[in-house]
């Protein structure tokens, strides 16, 4: 009887509750309507159409956003081409770098405003946008700025030249960070840019456009145009684009790769993932549990490199799962602007529907589903942190990317077995290893077919660190020295 009470669920929320600690949003400046940023000016779209961007935590409209059609894309590409030939390629590399440093500095000055807007528009917790998204975005500009006049040292035996005009299409999970991640190396390498943010999260990219104006970046060097899939397709298919950089789903990535067939456009694709996070018996278990939580619930699980498949060695499976559930029970789901919030709002209604439907499939296929019983607000898009046990390699939720706070747990006995299982996926973006034994960490990391391996850590990012996938998780790298080559002609 005593034993039974010892294994009872821990109830952290019975003794005290957290008082709300909302970040004040009264100082942010947002317009009611945003036009397209073309040739240094905000310009009304030729489509004359606007769509709403909403706050996923309240479902309230934040602003009207212009929808770019093919004619607008053409204007943006023309502006970028002219700027590349007449301005950006004419100024010295060192001066080019100084513009990029300027952008980084203004972003740092406005970091608080950017973080709040990021959380309002996308639903991510302010703790993440404040401590990760925005500082990292500024760091990407700062890092790449220095490359502008040092490219001759980056590729041994080669001279470099810019590719020309880069068309960049970014997703809604890290809106500002992805914009920085794409624009900064493109500019450092001497290219000009046409960037399209995702239709559910355009605001921080448009705030970035204002920052570019403030930095006196020459008109046309960066053009930011908003819209949905059709706008993206118009960018991909525009003959004036020399290089496509896309981050998003593997499905759309394949469509893009296919539509670029027969052209001379260069491309990099950062696509989906279904990462294995592997916990060995000799791991520091409490640290590993933190790592699992960070791996799958960071940014509501809207992360291409999320550790969505957990592999626990059999001997510790019970303990890990118990500790994991206890930990998950303490996670606070709610107002993205509250500094205590761990898991914010699901980015959109469509994404919430997708997560729900995959969870239903998981249950139907015999998976055992466990959810935290935390409160969630009545309005907005929310999903409680969710675990699945009793799943097989062939289960849909083990094979398909869910892009939400849903973790599929499997067990294993030997190192060989877990390597085999971990690699048994068309994806190959990332992976996690938890062990106290260095030799094992090196062995497993070298055998995982994935582009980023976190050993005894997870979901860490840095501008100096290349990021990108093997297999169907993409082509090419972004970040670091290796992230420069897609934006350069080497000769």
């Amino acid at each position: 009887m005593k034993k039974k009470s010892a294994t009872k669920d821990l109830k952290f929320d019975t003794k005290w509750t957290y008082a709300p600690a909302p970040e004040s949003a009264d100082h942010i400046q947002l317009k009611e309507k945003y036009d397209l940023f073309i040739n240094g000016k905000f310009t009304a779209p030729s489509s004359k159409k606007y769509f709403d961007t909403i706050n996923p935590a309240t479902e309230k409209k934040i602003a009207s956003i212009a929808e770019a059609n093919a004619a607008d894309v053409d204007k943006a590409v023309t502006a970028a081409r002219t700027a590349q030939q007449k301005v950006w390629s004419k100024i010295s590399a060192a001066e080019r770098g100084k513009y990029i440093y300027r952008i980084a500095r203004i972003m740092q000055e406005k970091a608080r405003e950017l973080a709040i807007i990021e959380s309002i528009d996308g639903g991510k917790p302010i703790r993440e946008s404040r401590d990760i998204d925005v500082p990292l975005a500024a760091a990407h500009f700062f890092y790449n700025a220095g490359w502008a006049d040092k490219l001759e040292y980056a590729f041994p035996g080669k001279k470099t030249a810019p590719v020309g005009v880069a068309g960049q299409i970014i997703p809604w999970n890290f809106p500002l960070l992805m914009a920085a991640w794409k624009i900064a190396p493109a500019l450092a390498a001497g290219n000009t840019v046409v960037l399209k943010p995702a239709e559910t999260t355009p605001l921080t990219a448009l705030k970035l456009a204002e920052i570019l104006q403030e930095a006196d970046l020459p008109p046309g060097v960066v053009n930011i145009i908003t819209g949905a899939g059709a706008t993206g397709a118009a960018i991909v298919n525009h003959p004036g684009i020399d290089k496509i950089a896309f981050t998003g789903s593997t499905d759309v990535g394949k469509i893009i790769q296919k539509s670029l067939a027969g052209t001379d456009k260069k491309y990099t694709l950062e696509l989906g993932g279904k990462a294995a996070n592997i916990i060995f018996e000799d791991a520091a278990i409490d640290q590993a549990v933190e790592g699992i939580v960070n791996g799958i619930f960071f940014n509501q699980g809207h992360v291409c490199c999320a550790g969505s498949r957990l592999f626990v060695q059999e001997g510790i499976a019970k303990e890990v799962i118990r500790k994991l559930k206890d930990r998950i029970q303490t996670l606070i789901v709610g107002d993205p602007l509250d500094k205590n919030t761990d898991i914010g709002a699901i980015n959109s209604k469509a994404q919430l529907r997708k997560i729900k439907s995959l969870v239903q499939i998981g249950i139907k296929e015999g998976g055992e589903c466990w959810q935290s019983d935390c409160d969630v607000p009545s309005k907005g898009f929310w999903f409680r942190p969710t675990l699945f046990t009793n799943v097989a390699q062939s289960s849909t939720i083990v094979q398909e990317e869910i892009f939400g706070p849903v973790l599929a747990i499997q067990t294993f006995r030997t190192v060989e077995e877990v390597i085999e299982k971990a690699n048994n996926t068309p994806y190959g973006l990332s992976g996690g290893i938890w062990t106290d034994k260095g030799s094992k960490a090196f062995q497993v990391s070298s055998k995982l077919r994935a582009g980023v391996i976190w050993a005894n850590t997870y979901n860490k990012f840095d501008p100096t660190s290349p990021f990108g996938g093997y297999k169907e998780s993409g082509v090419g790298r972004e970040g670091g020295l290796h992230g420069l080559s897609p934006y350069l002609k080497l000769y």
Binding site: P156, G262, A455
Partner: protein, 295 residues
């Protein structure tokens, strides 16, 4: 004396002696099978005489080759750089010893003697060049990344996996060396569809690698019509990359369209010099590993 006489006697009738003609088969998994399809094409000399009935490889041969590539990939990619370099060097040594044979064969396939000699010597030297890169390209193209947080972070190249190579049509031997060597020295395994007019050189090269300690399945060689392999190779779901340098515009488009099925890397070697570490790097993936620093 008796033996000598016997030889003399045989050679005395040599004018009437029948040549032993060679059957040229394909090379898969370290063995020389006939094409599974049973088909052949007649290779003719300039005068129109049939020199050999050559295997006209099929989709099934390609599939078998990819299975063998996959089986060989793990072991090959884990070989030490030193070991891989020595195997490449060994291939060069073996070729050097068979120069005369290769010149003869290339002449049968239409080469002038002087051109054949230049090409085989260039091919041997290129093998030595890439052997030398084996334990260097990882050093040159890796990085330790100074991340802001307290982590040790490094990036280095790893093989993409299985590479399908369309060797150039206008070279008997140099095209094979310049297209296959950078691929395998990077730890990949590959299947080659070789020049239609030079299958004999290609299969004799298979005999060279067979005798040079290159494990079976690292290079598979299929003879046949290129156009029959464009769609199959590019849509094969276990092929990770396609390398070519002289496919036509339409074939290139087909390859690129099909590559999207499993996000294959499509590599045009004509854009890179014949001797260049960037050829190696085009079939490499950069892996980045993070580990915390602290106690």
């Amino acid at each position: 004396m008796a033996t000598k006489t016997a030889i003399k006697n045989t050679s005395a009738s040599a004018s009437k002696r029948l040549d032993v003609k060679k059957t040229y088969k394909i090379y898969i998994d370290g063995k020389f099978p006939r094409t599974e399809s049973g088909r052949f094409y007649a290779l003719k000399d300039a005068a129109g005489n049939v020199i050999a009935n050559v295997c006209r490889g099929s989709r099934k041969d390609l599939r078998d080759a990819v299975v063998s590539n996959r089986k060989a990939q793990n072991d090959w990619s884990k070989r030490s750089a030193y070991n891989k370099a020595q195997i490449l060097y060994r291939i060069a040594e073996t070729l050097e010893g068979r120069k005369t044979q290769f010149i003869d064969t290339m002449m049968k396939e239409g080469y002038k003697e002087s051109n054949a000699k230049v090409e085989i010597e260039a091919a041997i030297d290129l093998l030595i060049y890439y052997a030398g890169w084996s334990d260097k390209y990882i050093q040159v193209f890796s990085a330790v990344n100074p991340v802001e947080s307290s982590h040790f972070n490094f990036s280095y190249p790893e093989p993409t996996g299985i590479v399908h190579v369309f060797c150039p049509q206008n070279q008997a031997l140099l095209g094979i060396i310049s297209h296959a060597t950078p691929v395998i020295i990077g730890g990949n395994t590959c299947t080659l569809v070789v020049a239609e007019k030079h299958p004999l050189t290609a299969i004799e090269f298979a005999e060279v690698i067979h005798a040079s300690d290159l494990p079976g399945g690292v290079i598979n060689i299929i003879t046949g019509y290129r156009k029959e392999f464009i769609a199959h190779a590019s849509s094969h779901m276990d092929v990770n990359a396609i390398v070519y340098s002289d496919v036509d515009q339409e074939q290139r488009k087909t390859i690129q369209i099909n590559a999207a099925l499993n996000v294959k890397r499509v590599v045009d070697y004509s854009k890179e010099e014949t001797a260049s570490p960037y050829r190696i790097m085009s079939c490499q993936e950069i892996k980045t590993t993070w580990h915390p620093i602290g106690i």
